[in-house]
Each structure stands twice: as structure tokens, then as C-alpha cells.
């Protein structure tokens, strides 16, 4: 029973993007097609950390040394175990072979797992300069890569540049604000003491996806602006949302500007 429970528990974490091997055939790349077929169903057999998973991808790379997907898949276990050196070697190889599919991903991971803000900015800006299309979203879908770039600029202290990037993305035609976009913009306004704009952002965020973190920052802003009743109301709501588990959450790490419970209750 223990083994059954453990395997059932681990399987969801072994599943990710499905391969479409036929895509290689359409481009006449039979070597990559064969390599792809070899690993097509591997996720249903082995977790990303398991030895046979890596051995199988090594076999695939012998068939097609340019099979970038294999390097990226092999890199994941190192990323999730915090082995930055091995991860970087593998993901660099994937990027070298196919920047279109891997450069944005590498940039995002540099931010998400290693808080390598400068490295992430470099990758996202390089992708933006090379791609003639929308550069897309982070691997977990939480942020558009331009918003992620804005977060990185904010983290290195370039707040005005971050605000400009956030606004540019949010106001892009046909772009729908993401799950946490207005929260991150609001916090950055708050940090530069632009409380009116901060409040507008927190209110917009509350309508899209209200979180304890957002409500707490809204409370803090109202406190500074002297809106005592609004402050009390938002603080109470922040505690309620926190207890309902409505807060910034990332299973692998913590969100930028995450708020701890003690900060809310001790404010």
C-alpha cells in the first residue's frame, strides 16, 4: 500500500508536455523522428529523476545528437534538485540547438529557480530580439515573459524600467492581464511611493484574482493614504484569504513579492 501511494503521488509530477514526433517527419528529419519515437512514452514509465529516464534520452541522443528536447528533458531533474551547474550545461546545449523552443524557458528557469535576474533578462531580451512573434509565457503559465522580465528589473532595483515594461505588456493589444500582473505592477508602484497608482493596480488585481498578498498590500497602501476604514477592511480580508489558501503559491519556489502570514497579522 505504501508503494502504491508513493507511485501515485509521484506520477503527476512526471507528466508534462506531450511530444509530437510526426512534426519531425514533416520536416524530413528522420533521425529526430526515430529519437523522438524512442522516448515518446517515457513519462508514463519513469519519473524525470530516474536512471532509465536519463539512459533512454542518452540513447535518443545517439540516434539524433541535435535532439534538443532530450537535453531539455534531461536538464529538468537537475533543475529541480538545485544542481545549477549540470542543469546549465544541459539547457545550454538545448538552447544552442533550438533557441526558439528553449531560450525563453532557460530565461524563466534562471529567474524562477536561481533568482539569476540579470541572466533571465539577458535571455528574454535575446529571445525578443531574435523572435518575430510574441515571445510567450513562462513554463508554468504564471507570467508572460515580458512581465517576468519586468519582475527581474524590479528585483535589481530598476523600478521605473520595471513599471514601463509591465505597462507596455499589460496595454499590448489583445493581451489579457495575467493572474498576477497587476499585483506585481502595484507592488512596484508602491515601492516608488506612487500610492495612487498602486491602489488602482491592487483594485484591478482584486477583480481578476484576489489574493491575500494583494489585499495586504492594498491595506498597507490605504494605511499610508490615511484611509483607516479601508485599511482595516483589507487587512481583515487578507487574513481571511490567507486562511482560505488564496495566496501566491509556486510548488517549486516562492513568488516574487510573496507576503508571509506574520507580516499581515503583525501589521
Amino acid at each position: 500500500m505504501r508503494n502504491t501511494l508513493l507511485i501515485l503521488f509521484l506520477l503527476p509530477f512526471a507528466t508534462h508536455a506531450q511530444l509530437n514526433c510526426k512534426a519531425y517527419l514533416y520536416t524530413g528529419d528522420t533521425a529526430r523522428y526515430k529519437a523522438c519515437i524512442l522516448v515518446e512514452n517515457i513519462d508514463s514509465l519513469y519519473g524525470q529523476f530516474m536512471r532509465p529516464f536519463h539512459e533512454k534520452y542518452d540513447e535518443a541522443l545517439k540516434i539524433a545528437p541535435n535532439f534538443d528536447y532530450a537535453y531539455r528533458e534531461k536538464s529538468t531533474a537537475y533543475l529541480k534538485s538545485g544542481d545549477f551547474i549540470t542543469w546549465k550545461k544541459l539547457i545550454d546545449k538545448a538552447v544552442e540547438l533550438n533557441w526558439r523552443l528553449n531560450l525563453g524557458y532557460r530565461g524563466w528557469c534562471r529567474y524562477q529557480f536561481f533568482r539569476d535576474y540579470e541572466g533571465a533578462i539577458k535571455d528574454i531580451e535575446l529571445l525578443d530580439s531574435l523572435a518575430k512573434y510574441d515571445i510567450g509565457y513562462s513554463q508554468n503559465g504564471d507570467y508572460h515573459l515580458n512581465i517576468a522580465k519586468g519582475i527581474c528589473y524590479s528585483a535589481i532595483g530598476q523600478k521605473q524600467k520595471a513599471i514601463q515594461i509591465f505597462n507596455l505588456q499589460i496595454n499590448t493589444p489583445n493581451y489579457e492581464a495575467g493572474l498576477y500582473d497587476y499585483f506585481q505592477l502595484g507592488v512596484t508602484y508602491f515601492e516608488v511611493k506612487d500610492y495612487q497608482n498602486a491602489l488602482i493596480c491592487f483594485e484591478k488585481q482584486a477583480k481578476i484574482n484576489n489574493l491575500a498578498d494583494n489585499e495586504y498590500l492594498k491595506a498597507k497602501t490605504n494605511k499610508i493614504l490615511g484611509n483607516t476604514a479601508e485599511y482595516e477592511k483589507s487587512k481583515e480580508l487578507a487574513i481571511k484569504l490567507f486562511n482560505e489558501n488564496k495566496k501566491l503559491f509556486d510548488p517549486y519556489t516562492h513568488h516574487f513579492n510573496k507576503v508571509y502570514y506574520s507580516s499581515i497579522v503583525n501589521d
Binding site: 500500500m1 501511494l5 509530477f13 539512459e55 529541480k80 538545485g82
Partner: protein
């Protein structure tokens, strides 16, 4: 139930077969595995299972530490003092096992510079980080509840990454 057990049996058998032919493999049984080393590890540190297969992010909990990550940050803020290594920058990862009782051991350290190249940091940094890490007492075991409401506790791998800039500890991950 039968349908469930057939793939599970297949997975277990596959893993077993791989185990038999694995003596020359480039890889450990699982990436990041930490085997017992009598020169580094406590003999009295017990695992609840023979193999540790769970990683820190598995399960429903949003934190593995009592009082959340804030308490970890507090411990390092209070105790870390980089007085002798002001030119050191990069990342240090300390990986270890939390057993099913919430005890820790098998600590392993790697470091990199700001270009993802291997780096051995000044001992005054790594030894302090290691000592503080070993003294963190709030780790919680991972508990999973079966359909019949039985609770099982598992050992798991956890790591802490320390972002160091000119000797200063500026961020802790994950």
C-alpha cells in the same frame, strides 16, 4: 483495482530490471541521490524507507518548514556573519534529507560562480551556512493520506540555495 496494479507492477519490474544492469551506468538510481557516507553522515540517522524518492515540492503543503520560509530566513539573518570573505559571489546549494520524523542529515554542498561554473567558496562561508542549516529544527515530514485515511510519512530530499553577493547572503531559495 486490477487495472491500477498492472502498470504499477510494470513500473516496479522495470525499475528492478534496470537496477540489475546498472553497475556501469553514468547515473545514480535517481538524480541527486545522496548515499550514506560514514565519513560525513550520522550513523544514527534513520530513513523510514530504504530509498528516498520524494522531492521537496511533492505533496499539497505549501511549506515544509514550521512557520514557513520566513523562519529559515530569520535563522540565517541572525546567525550568518560574512566577516572574512567579502569578495565571494555566486550560489551555494546545500542538499540534504528530511526523514519521516523531521530529522535531517546527509548534507552535501556545491557552489557556482555567477557564470554557472563550479566554485569552491571560502570555508568561512560554507561552514557557517552548513552549520546553520544543520541546526534548523523546523522541518516537517511529508505525510500522505490513503483513501482509507491511513497516514504515511515519507523521507524526502530538500535543498537550500544561498545567493551570495560579495560575501553577503542576499537571498535563500527555493
Amino acid at each position: 483495482m486490477k487495472k491500477l496494479f498492472i502498470p504499477l507492477l510494470f513500473i516496479s519490474m522495470s525499475a528492478f530490471c534496470q537496477e540489475q544492469k546498472s553497475t556501469t551506468s553514468l547515473y545514480p538510481r535517481s538524480i541527486g541521490n545522496i548515499e550514506f557516507d560514514p565519513n560525513l553522515d550520522k550513523k544514527e540517522f534513520q530513513l523510514c524507507r530504504s530509498d528516498v524518492d520524494v522531492q521537496y515540492y511533492s505533496g499539497k503543503n505549501d511549506t515544509n518548514y514550521q512557520g514557513d520560509k520566513e523562519m529559515i530566513e530569520k535563522a540565517f539573518k541572525e546567525k550568518y556573519n560574512p566577516e572574512n570573505a567579502k569578495n565571494e559571489s555566486g550560489l551555494i546549494r546545500i542538499r540534504f534529507i528530511v526523514n519521516c520524523k523531521g530529522e535531517t542529515d546527509r548534507f552535501r554542498v556545491i557552489g557556482m560562480d555567477e557564470n554557472y561554473q563550479k566554485k569552491i567558496f571560502d570555508k568561512s562561508i560554507t561552514e557557517q551556512l552548513l552549520r546553520i542549516s544543520k541546526n534548523l529544527k523546523g522541518w516537517m515530514p511529508k505525510n500522505f493520506t490513503s483513501k482509507t485515511n491511513e497516514v504515511f510519512s515519507y523521507d524526502y530530499y530538500q535543498y537550500l540555495i544561498f545567493k551570495i553577493k560579495n560575501g553577503q547572503l542576499i537571498e535563500i531559495l527555493p
